[in-house]
């Protein structure tokens, strides 16, 4: 590689690409060429920086200057001012919303300050389509170390000692899983990477594969070495076209460099990776279902045991790990288990990537040590709630998790603490809700998801979740009773106890946790037939304030069902029995006379 004096990194995550990062790259390169600087400054398209809220993002190295919301036409100014004259382009810098100070350096931004990036170490730092850049950041060194210096058992012991637990949600110790798979003798074994990310609100696996695909390939090869497998399969959902593309490029490059294929690094170890594409079925994230899908069957789960480590893909010992779990492996090998297990809490070591979404100022991907509190994540990194609204709840763990509230804000986040408060880690999606969100509707949303994604194999999940959904629907329609709440609870317990796989065993969590934490809101729905946050359409009424109404007749003329009556220059009245609650009147009123009650 040529030696460049400066690097300009452009976020090439799909989010930023959608907002013109390719045009920015071209303009930067043109501007450099015009100044004759193309030999001295390198422009690199990297993976996602995580700070998607303010994209597209351009970062200048070595001084770590962090430009936000960059437009293609800003390219010339960045080159002219920053690169040539050494003056930062102030208007493109990030302003701390709390302190109102301009922060030029990403290390001092609230968003990055508390983060430790292990799984995301290369995302936003290297060009994911160039294997040399990965190698330059210690890439494939861990594989080399394993093959040259460590026995398979020594690698397994290292992973066990690191305390790494499965990042896909279950939290099973990764080292143990590898050990089981290594102990089962067979003529053929498989390493599978589960990239069938489907939890609503989670997108970290996509970002890792888009930003650092080689880290997953390297870890799969290491896993193959420990268990004696020479075949790896990445099962990735078809909804992630860019991640698929980047993986294809990465696999091709790794083969060309002899880092995949036969006799890797002259060690005699063979390992190659192929890809399989999901076809839109959430349950395939469950490992037995995923294996059946790879076998060309319906993606239905089966009872464990036998575990995939004994009898998995094509009946052979198979080890399935999630993308983020794999992304941690090379770092553990390079820096040692003793380094890794000092990060995080005693029983949940290392870091966790969270996807922040919903009503939070800084949406995007973050990676924090286990044990960080929700308050730190939401307020310090996430920048607080949008539009100065009040925090109400954060949903973690997708359809298997629950809603946490104000009182959980100081709970350190780790696998066990989240379980103890009725939620779970899941894959790390965090959807933040404010005072305007109705918790009954939130629970109903998740059940709607589960009903659709339940594979239908076992009755509690297929029928039970449908009944839960119907009860919640009845409550949001204002027809629920207090007895329905008991029924919801009982039915939830039965579904949890009797379902076949993880999907059904956890699907009532959103219901149970919202009843537990927002009982008053449920009571308001069933007793007063009111939705306190005004979200349940059936329970709201549009009302005209006679004080504010000037009788302009605009609302009456726009009402599609003619339910507004009143004479000119007289206050109008809505016939609530006929009203279809479309909201057209409220939108049209110029005097803010119409409100929802």
């Amino acid at each position: 590689m040529e030696k460049y004096k400066m690097h300009i990194l452009i976020c090439g995550g799909t989010g930023c690409r959608a907002s013109a990062s390719e045009a920015i790259q071209n303009n930067l390169q043109d501007a450099l060429k015009a100044k004759g600087l193309e030999e001295e400054v390198q422009v690199v398209m990297t993976g996602c920086f995580g700070f998607c809220e303010k994209g597209p993002i351009v970062k200048i190295l070595p001084d770590n200057t962090f430009y936000i919301e960059v437009k293609p036409e800003d390219a010339e100014e960045i080159i002219e001012e920053h690169i040539i004259k050494g003056r930062k382009v102030m208007r493109l810098l990030y302003t701390d919303p709390e302190k109102k100070e301009v922060v030029s350096d990403s290390k001092h931004m609230g968003f990055y300050k508390k983060q430790i990036r292990i799984a995301l170490r290369n995302c936003g730092f290297i060009n994911p389509e160039n294997i040399d850049e990965y190698i330059a950041t210690e890439g494939y060194a861990a594989l080399g170390k394993c093959l040259a210096e460590m026995t398979p058992q020594a690698v397994i012991d290292e992973i066990k000692e690191s305390g790494l637990r499965g990042r896909g949600g279950g939290g099973f110790p990764t080292g143990l899983k590898w050990e089981f798979a290594s102990k089962n003798e067979a003529d053929q074994k498989y390493v599978v990477c589960n990239a069938d990310e489907g939890d609503p609100g989670a997108f970290m696996d996509r970002s890792i594969l888009e930003g650092d695909p080689h880290s997953v390939l390297e870890a799969m090869a290491i896993c193959g070495y420990t268990m004696g497998a020479d075949k790896g399969v990445i099962y990735i959902r078809a909804e992630y076209p860019l991640a698929i593309e980047r993986l294809k490029v990465a696999i091709k490059q790794a083969r060309e460099y002899g880092l995949l294929g036969n006799d890797i690094m002259g060690s005699g170890f063979n390992f190659d990776v192929e890809m399989r594409y999901g076809a839109g079925a959430f349950v395939c994230g469950e490992e037995t279902a995923l294996i059946h899908s790879m076998e060309g069957l319906r993606g239905e789960p089966t009872v464990k045991p036998p575990f995939p480590a004994e009898s998995g893909y094509n009946g052979k010992p198979t080890n399935v790990n999630n993308v983020e779990t794999f992304a941690n492996i090379p770092v553990i090998i390079n820096k040692g288990a003793g380094w890794f297990n000092k990060i995080g809490t005693e029983k949940s070591t290392g870091t966790k990537v969270f996807a922040l979404a919903g009503k939070i100022n800084n949406v995007g991907l973050i990676e924090v040590p286990m044990g960080t509190t929700l308050r730190e994540v939401i307020y310090e990194i996430g920048g607080g709630i949008k539009d100065g609204k009040k925090f109400k709840a954060v949903q973690t763990g997708g359809p298997s998790g629950g809603c946490l509230t104000e009182k959980h804000l100081d709970t350190p986040i780790d696998f066990d603490n989240l379980l103890a408060v009725g939620s779970m880690m899941g894959s790390g999606g965090m959807i933040v809700m404010d005072e305007d969100d109705c918790m009954v509707s939130v629970a109903k949303f998740y059940l709607d998801f589960t009903v659709e994604e339940s594979c239908g194999k076992c009755t509690p999940c297929r029928v039970g979740n449908k009944r839960l959904y119907e009860l919640l629907d009845k409550i949001t329609e204002g027809k629920g009773t207090k007895e329905d709440l008991d029924l919801l609870r009982n039915l939830s317990t039965v579904i949890k106890d009797t379902s076949l796989c993880g999907l059904g065993q956890t699907s009532p969590n959103p219901v149970l946790s919202t009843i537990e934490n927002f009982y008053d809101e449920y009571i308001a729905h069933v007793e007063e037939h009111k939705c306190p946050s005004g979200q349940c359409k059936a329970l709201m009424q549009y009302v005209i304030d006679p004080e504010l109404c000037v009788g302009c007749t605009l609302c009456a003329r726009n009402c599609p069902v003619d339910c507004i009556a009143g004479d000119r220059k007289e206050a109008h009245i809505i016939d609530t029995a006929k009203c279809i609650k479309c909201g057209a009147c409220m939108e049209k009123c110029k005097f803010n006379a119409i409100s929802i009650q």
Partner: protein
């Protein structure tokens, strides 16, 4: 040999007749024809020596393996909670009124089908949709119409 027969034959020749290759073969047909017709399913069953009921049973399990006719461009709007919070319904309304069809329907010229889908993983850039394999994010009722207009005017 008609087009479909050749397509199935080539796909089976490329992937092999083992059961584990069924999904890639079904996906290959979807790529070309956008849905799995009864004839296509029968041809795959015959080529792979798998009961047609099994092929159908597998296909219908997966939401991306459609067995109903679809348009040339399948629009899948994400209906997940974060997209819903950010106005997914207005996006759907804008698409429906632009294409003059409802969710689940296909335009008369067989160009577009509107569907809803579960989380696409674009929660930070909501609302999002897929048009075949292309992702569009941070949609507004105006931008979505511009995007679809480009598809409509294409060829």
């Amino acid at each position: 040999m008609d087009f479909q027969e050749k397509l199935v034959h080539d796909l089976v020749a490329k992937h092999g007749t083992d059961r584990e290759n069924l999904l890639p073969i079904l996906q290959g047909v979807i790529d070309q024809e956008r849905y799995l017709s009864e004839e296509a399913i029968l041809k795959i069953a015959k080529e792979m020596s798998i009961p047609a009921a099994d092929v159908y049973g597998t296909a219908t399990f997966y939401s991306f393996l459609d067995t109903d006719p679809r348009g040339k461009y399948v629009i899948r709007v994400c209906k997940t909670i974060t997209c819903a919070m950010k106005g997914k319904n207005q996006i759907i309304q804008a698409i429906e009124s632009f294409l003059k069809i409802k969710v689940g329907e296909t335009t008369v010229d067989k160009k577009f089908t509107i569907l809803q889908t579960n989380c696409l993983g674009w929660c930070h850039k909501a609302p999002a949709m897929l048009v075949n394999d292309d992702v569009y994010t941070e949609l507004t009722p105006e931008s979505v119409v511009d995007i679809l207009r480009e598809y409509r005017e294409e060829n």
